[in-house]
């Protein structure tokens, strides 16, 4: 029995059609059943564009410390900048390299380089500027991430998917604010008290602040905002009546290194 070309093409075409119509094929093409079963929480806080205003007039050293402590406690942030031998003092350069920073404080000349000069007001010199990830509108870290472990959410939060991070540290090179830290060692032994509801990180991944995405999803404000007593204002830039927008309207604010074009979304009232 022989088969000519026309016959062969007809049979091939028909079997493709039958294959496409098969149950398995439909299951492959349709969205999975499990995916469809996941929804945002009913009380989740949603926004068009999350942003934060740091009111340095209200923020003192003690409040800044409170913010840092609660953040590190909630997110299991380790203190890796400890020497192996407790008797040896650590090199400041090593401390800088090893420490994990989600939220930290620094002087004016470090926070706003290019805007500092010799005769800056004493009041500003002494301020403990609270620094964190700026959740940029044009985030360089997202652009350089080779695995899309860092990505920008619809609501502006620059989020990290730890499951995807391969620890290449491109994002750390890309970030102009030093907001990203690398786990040079297993962080578990360096966490003071583990928060059982939040994961830790592993050796070899980068971590940073994500505006407490896990708390927003439960309808809570970021941990630092809750303890700051009004010094930190957090809200939706898309809503003209939100507290952030009103604060921005009523005060003169500056941002860190806006000239770089990353469009940071943490504003400072000095």
């Amino acid at each position: 029995m022989s088969i000519n070309r026309r016959e062969f093409i007809r049979i091939a075409g028909l079997s493709t059609l039958v294959g496409l119509g098969g149950k398995t094929a439909w299951e492959l093409l349709l969205p999975g059943q499990v995916e469809a079963q996941l929804l945002p929480k009913a009380n989740a806080l949603a926004a068009k564009r999350w942003a934060m205003v740091v009111d340095m007039k209200k923020l003192d050293e003690a409040t800044a410390k409170k913010c840092i402590d609660i953040c590190h406690k909630v997110h299991n942030v380790p203190n890796l900048a400890v020497p192996n031998d407790p008797k040896v003092k650590m090199d400041p350069a090593d401390v800088n390299r090893w420490q994990i920073k989600w939220i930290w404080s620094d002087h004016y000349h470090n926070a706003f380089p290019g805007q500092e000069h010799e005769y800056v007001q004493d009041r500003v010199q002494a301020m403990p500027f609270l620094l964190l990830c700026n959740q940029c509108n044009n985030p360089p870290c997202v652009r350089v991430c080779p695995t899309q472990a860092t990505f920008r959410r619809e609501d502006g939060i620059v989020m990290m998917d730890m499951h995807r991070c391969i620890g290449c540290r491109y994002c750390m090179a890309g970030c102009p604010y030093g907001s990203r830290s690398f786990n040079w060692r297993d962080p578990r032994p360096f966490i003071k008290q583990e928060n059982p509801t939040y994961p830790t990180r592993e050796k070899g991944v980068v971590e940073k602040c994500d505006f407490c995405a896990e708390r927003l999803a439960k309808g809570q404000m970021p941990a630092c905002v809750e303890v700051a007593g009004g010094a930190l204002v957090f809200g939706d830039l898309g809503d003209a009546k939100s507290k952030v927008r009103e604060t921005l309207k009523a005060n003169f604010t500056i941002r860190r290194k806006p000239e770089l074009g990353s469009n940071p979304q943490v504003y400072y009232i000095v």
């Binding site: 079963q37 929480k41 583990e194 509801t197 939040y198 830790t200 592993e202």
Partner: protein, 158 residues
């Protein structure tokens, strides 16, 4: 002509006589026998023995507290047994990348999609419930590098 032996140096009257013999044969074969015996020893050791299949237990305090009819997982048992890894994989993608943190189970019951907070709340016996099977089938999921299993520590503290 046929029995003349030829190589790259010329044509010779006859083949060179080489003794056909394995030098140090007894050592070589003895070595080989020992090598194969050692390599296959696990097979001989376990021959005829059946390693008991793992029996994950559901007798944790959290599950005991529930009423009989409420003792249900987020999906039917058969599905969970076969597909819990796919379910967890979908959860992590949807939660982290999609921001969808509520899982709607059968009958419209909502669960927080979280390994550390939802799964381990009931299955607080991670070593017995998770690790036992994973060890049996020789898989090492990377979940526990980051996700905390506090239940063990709490038990130690008590």
């Amino acid at each position: 002509m046929d029995d003349k032996y030829k190589n790259e140096f010329g044509v010779f009257a006859e083949r060179p006589k080489v003794e056909k013999k394995i030098y140090d044969g007894k050592y070589i074969f003895l070595g080989l026998i020992i090598f194969f015996a050692v390599v296959t020893s696990p097979l001989w050791q376990n021959l005829g023995k059946a390693i008991p299949a793992p029996v994950p237990k559901l007798d944790t305090p959290a599950i005991q507290k529930l009423a009989e009819k409420d003792r249900k997982c987020v999906q039917p048992l058969a599905f969970m047994r076969a597909n819990h890894m796919q379910l967890l994989d979908t959860w992590r993608t949807e939660v982290v990348r999609g921001g969808n943190r509520d899982f709607v189970g059968p009958g419209g019951v909502k669960y927080t999609a979280s390994l550390q907070n939802t799964c381990l709340d009931c299955h607080s016996n991670k070593a017995q419930f998770c690790d036992q099977c994973h060890n049996y089938v020789a898989v090492t999921p990377t979940c526990w590098g980051c996700h905390l299993d506090m239940t063990q520590k709490l038990a130690e503290a008590k």
